[in-house]
C-alpha cells in the first residue's frame, strides 16, 4: 500500500542510478540514520551502547571488509582477525610515536598498514586460488599474531603484550563516554559503508565481480588480474584494519593480541554468510544477527531456568550456542545462500504487492 514507486518518474540518468531510487527508501534511511545518530545516544543506556551497539558496528565494518574480498571479489580469506590486529596495534603505535597525532589519522594509518599486510599476503592469489588461497590467508593469521606477540615494538615493550588505547579527542572534544564512542564509530562506519557501496557500483566493483564469477573469462575481456585481486585485498584489509582500530579504541580499550584469534575470523566469516555474501546491507544484517543471537540465547536460557525451576549449566548453553551457530551456517548455505539480505529483498517485493496477491 505505502511501499510503492507508482508516480515516481525518473527523467535523468543520475536519478535512475541513485542508491535508493524509491522515495520511501530514502525516507526510511534518513529516519534510521536520525534515530541512530540522535535518538539512540540520548536514550540508550551504557550497557546497550558499549556492549552491544558499538561491537555490532565494528564487526559490521569488518564483515564489510571481508565481503569486499570474499563476497565481491571471490577470494576466500580466513585472516580477517589478523588484519584487524594490524589495524589495532598500528593505530596504537601511531598515537604513541607520532606527536599530536589526530585520532582519525591514527585510524587511517592503522588501515593503511593492514592494507600493506593484505597486499603481501594477497600476492599468492596471483598463482593460487580457492582452497589453497584460504590456507595462505590462514598463514597470515598465524604469522601476524606471532609477530605481534613476539616483537615488543608493537605493544611498546609491555611485558604481557597488552596495550591500552590512548585517550581520544577530536577538535578538542574528548571521546570518553560510551555515547560519544558510539557516535564516532557510527559516523566512521556509515561513511565507509557509503564509500564501499559506491565503489562496488563503479568499474572497480564490476571488475571484482567479474573476477569472482569467472577469473579466466575476466582476464580474457581485459581485466588486469593482478591489479584487481591485489586491490581487493588492499581495500578489504583497509576496512578490516580500521575495524580493528575501532575495536581496540572504541570497544575494548585494553587489547591483548589474543583478542584477534582465528575464532574472530570465523565469526566474521559467519556474519558474512548469514548476512549475505556480496551485499553491503547483508554485512550489517549478519553482524547484527550474530551479535544479538548469544544475548537472545542467554535470555532464553534464563527464561527456561525460571520456567523449569532448575539451573542450566553454563557449558550446556555455550555448547548449544556453538551447535546452533554451526547448524545455522549449514542451513543458510543450503536454503538461502544469499543470506538475510536476500530475505530482505524478497520481503520488499512482497511489500510492493501487499495487500493484493498479484
Amino acid at each position: 500500500m505505502l511501499y510503492r514507486e507508482a508516480g515516481q518518474f525518473k527523467s535523468t540518468y543520475g536519478e535512475d542510478q541513485q542508491i535508493f531510487p524509491i522515495l520511501q527508501d530514502r525516507i526510511a534511511i534518513v529516519a534510521l540514520l536520525l534515530v541512530a545518530f540522535v535518538v539512540v545516544p540520548l536514550v540508550g543506556d551504557q550497557y546497550w551502547l558499549s556492549a552491544i551497539l558499538t561491537p555490532f558496528l565494528v564487526l559490521a565494518l569488518a564483515t564489510l571488509g571481508l565481503n569486499i574480498l570474499t563476497g565481491y571479489a571471490g577470494q576466500l580469506s580466513l585472516g580477517t582477525a589478523a588484519f584487524m590486529a594490524v589495524g589495532a596495534f598500528m593505530a596504537y603505535n601511531a598515537m604513541l610515536r607520532i606527536p599530536h597525532m589526530p585520532i582519525l589519522g591514527a585510524f587511517i594509518i592503522g588501515g593503511l598498514c593492514a592494507a600493506a599486510v593484505g597486499i603481501v599476503f594477497g600476492l599468492p592469489s596471483f598463482r593460487i586460488k580457492g582452497l589453497y588461497l584460504a590456507v595462505a590467508t590462514l598463514a597470515c593469521q598465524f604469522f601476524v599474531l606471532w609477530a605481534i606477540n613476539r616483537i615488543g615494538w608493537f605493544s611498546n615493550y609491555s611485558s604481557s603484550g597488552v596495550i591500552t588505547a590512548q585517550r581520544m579527542e577530536i577538535l578538542g572534544y574528548p571521546i570518553d563516554t560510551p555515547a560519544s564512542k558510539y557516535v564516532l564509530t557510527l559516523a566512521i562506519v556509515v561513511f565507509m559503508a557509503l564509500a564501499a557501496k559506491n565503489l562496488m557500483r563503479s568499474e572497480t566493483g564490476r571488475a571484482f565481480m567479474a573476477v569472482r564469477d569467472m577469473d579466466v573469462a575476466a582476464s580474457v575481456i581485459g581485466i588486469p588480474m593482478m591489479k584487481t585481486k591485489l586491490l581487493a585485498f588492499a581495500i578489504s584489509s583497509f576496512y578490516c584494519g580500521v575495524a580493528g582500530a575501532l575495536y581496540a579504541f572504541c570497544y575494548l580499550g585494553t587489547v591483548e593480541p589474543e583478542a584477534f584469534v582465528l575464532d574472530l575470523s570465523f565469526r566474521v566469516l559467519f556474519m558474512m554468510i548469514i548476512g549475505g555474501a556480496g551485499s553491503i546491507l547483508g554485512s550489517f544484517l549478519g553482524a547484527g544477527f550474530i551479535t544479538l543471537f548469544p544475548i537472545f540465547l542467554n535470555l532464553a536460557s534464563k527464561w527456561l531456568e525460571n520456567a523449569l525451576g532448575m539451573e542450566i549449566p553454563h557449558a550446556l548453553v555455550s555448547n548449544t550456542e556453538a551447535i546452533i551457530f554451526g547448524a545455522l551456517i549449514i542451513f543458510f548455505l543450503i536454503v538461502e545462500p544469499y543470506g538475510l539480505a536476500r530475505l530482505w529483498q524478497i520481503t520488499k517485493e512482497k511489500l510492493r504487492l501487499w495487500p493484493f496477491p498479484h
Binding site: 570474499t70 571471490g74 576466500l76 599468492p124 598463482r127 593460487i128 580457492g130 582452497l131 589453497y132 584460504a134 590456507v135 595462505a136 590462514l138 598463514a139 598465524f142 604469522f143 606471532w146 606477540n149 613476539r150 616483537i151 579466466v216 573469462a217 580474457v220 582465528l262 570465523f266 566469516l269 559467519f270 554468510i273 557449558a315 550446556l316 555448547n319 548449544t320 550456542e321 556453538a322 551447535i323 551457530f325 554451526g326 547448524a327 545455522l328 551456517i329 549449514i330 548455505l333 543450503i334 545462500p337
Partner: protein
C-alpha cells in the same frame, strides 16, 4: 650430529601424526571434491567418544568397535544432511559448510562427554627406545615408532582398498568425474557415504594417536589446521602426498624451531609450516603429487 639426527627423527615422527590427520582430508577431497574443514573436529569427536567409553569401564575392543560404528554413522549423517543438498555448489560454499560442521561437531561432542581433558593409555609406553639411546645417544620414543607403523599399515590398507577392490574402483571413478560415474551406474550417494565413513575411521586412528601423545582435549581440533600445510605440500588428491608432505613439514618445522627459533624469539612452530607451504605454492601451485589444473575458458 647425534642431536641433529634426533631432531630430524623426532620431526619426521611428529610429521607422521600430521599425515594421519591429512589422510582424512585427502580421502574426502579425492572422492567428493570437498575440503573437509571438520576433519579436526571428527578426530576430536572420535577420540573423546573412545576415551569416555573406556573411562566408563568398557572393554578396549568393544569401545573401539562402538566408536567405529559411531564414526560411520556420523559420516553417513553428514553426507545425508550437509553434502547431498549442496551437490553442485562451488567448492568455497562446501568449505564454509564444513566450517559450520566443525562448530556442530565440537558442540555435540562436548555436550555429550563434557569438556574436561582426558588422558589416554593404549598400553604402549611413551618412552625412548633403550638400545638406541644407550648405543647412539639418540632419544626416539617407542610410541612414535608405533604411530609410524600404524600410519604405514593404514596407508597400505587404503592403497589396497582404492586400487584392488570394486569399491575402490568406484571411488576413483567418482573422483575423476561425478557425471561420468553416475552415467555408468555408480551410486554416487553410497560412495560418498562410504568415503565419509572411511574418513571417520582415519579420524579415529588419528585421534587415538594424538590422544596418547597430548591427551584428549579441545586443542586436538587445532591439529587439523596443522594438516593444511601438509596437504598443500603434498597435493590435495594424493595419499602418498599426505605422507611425504607430513614428513617434510614435521622435520623442517622441528629443525627450524631448534636451529632458527632462538634467533627470532622462538615459537615459530605455529606458522613456519604455513610459510614453507606458501613458498612452495609459488613454485608448484598443485603440490608435490597433486594433479595439474588446466584452466580453459
Amino acid at each position: 650430529m647425534n642431536f641433529f639426527i634426533e631432531v630430524v627423527a623426532g620431526g619426521l615422527l611428529a610429521g607422521v601424526m600430521y599425515s594421519l590427520v591429512a589422510l582424512g582430508f585427502v580421502i574426502i577431497y579425492k572422492a567428493s571434491g570437498v575440503f573437509n574443514f571438520a576433519q579436526g573436529s571428527m578426530v576430536f569427536f572420535a577420540a573423546l567418544t573412545f576415551v569416555s567409553l573406556l573411562e566408563r569401564g568398557w572393554n578396549l575392543w568393544l569401545a573401539l568397535a562402538v566408536t567405529m560404528v559411531a564414526m560411520v554413522l556420523v559420516g553417513m549423517l553428514i553426507e545425508r544432511t550437509v553434502l547431498r543438498p549442496l551437490v553442485n555448489q562451488p567448492p568455497i560454499t562446501l568449505l564454509m559448510a564444513t566450517i559450520g560442521l566443525t562448530f556442530v561437531l565440537e558442540g555435540v561432542s562436548q555436550l555429550m562427554w563434557g569438556s574436561q581433558p582426558h588422558g589416554l593409555e593404549l598400553g604402549i609406553p611413551d618412552v625412548p627406545i633403550e638400545w638406541l639411546s644407550e648405543k647412539w645417544n639418540i632419544n626416539i620414543s617407542q610410541f612414535d615408532l608405533f604411530a609410524a607403523l600404524v600410519a604405514g599399515v593404514l596407508v597400505a590398507v587404503l592403497a589396497v582398498l582404492t586400487q584392488k577392490t570394486r569399491i575402490g574402483r568406484a571411488l576413483r571413478a567418482v573422483a575423476d568425474d561425478h557425471q561420468a560415474a553416475l552415467a555408468v551406474g555408480i551410486p554416487l550417494q553410497h560412495i560418498w557415504a562410504i568415503v565419509w565413513a572411511v574418513a571417520g575411521f582415519v579420524a579415529l586412528v588419528a585421534g587415538l594417536m594424538w590422544g596418547v601423545r597430548n591427551g584428549v582435549q579441545y586443542a586436538l581440533t587445532f591439529t587439523a589446521l596443522k594438516a593444511l600445510p601438509v596437504l598443500i605440500l603434498g597435493g590435495f588428491e594424493s595419499i602418498a602426498g599426505a605422507i611425504v608432505g607430513g614428513l617434510i613439514i614435521g622435520a623442517s618445522e622441528k629443525v627450524a624451531e631448534v636451529y632458527l627459533g632462538p634467533y627470532v624469539g622462538g615459537g615459530i612452530e605455529s606458522w613456519f609450516a604455513y610459510v614453507i607451504a606458501l613458498l612452495f605454492l609459488l613454485v608448484r601451485p598443485e603440490g608435490l603429487f597433486g594433479e595439474k589444473i588446466i584452466d580453459r575458458v
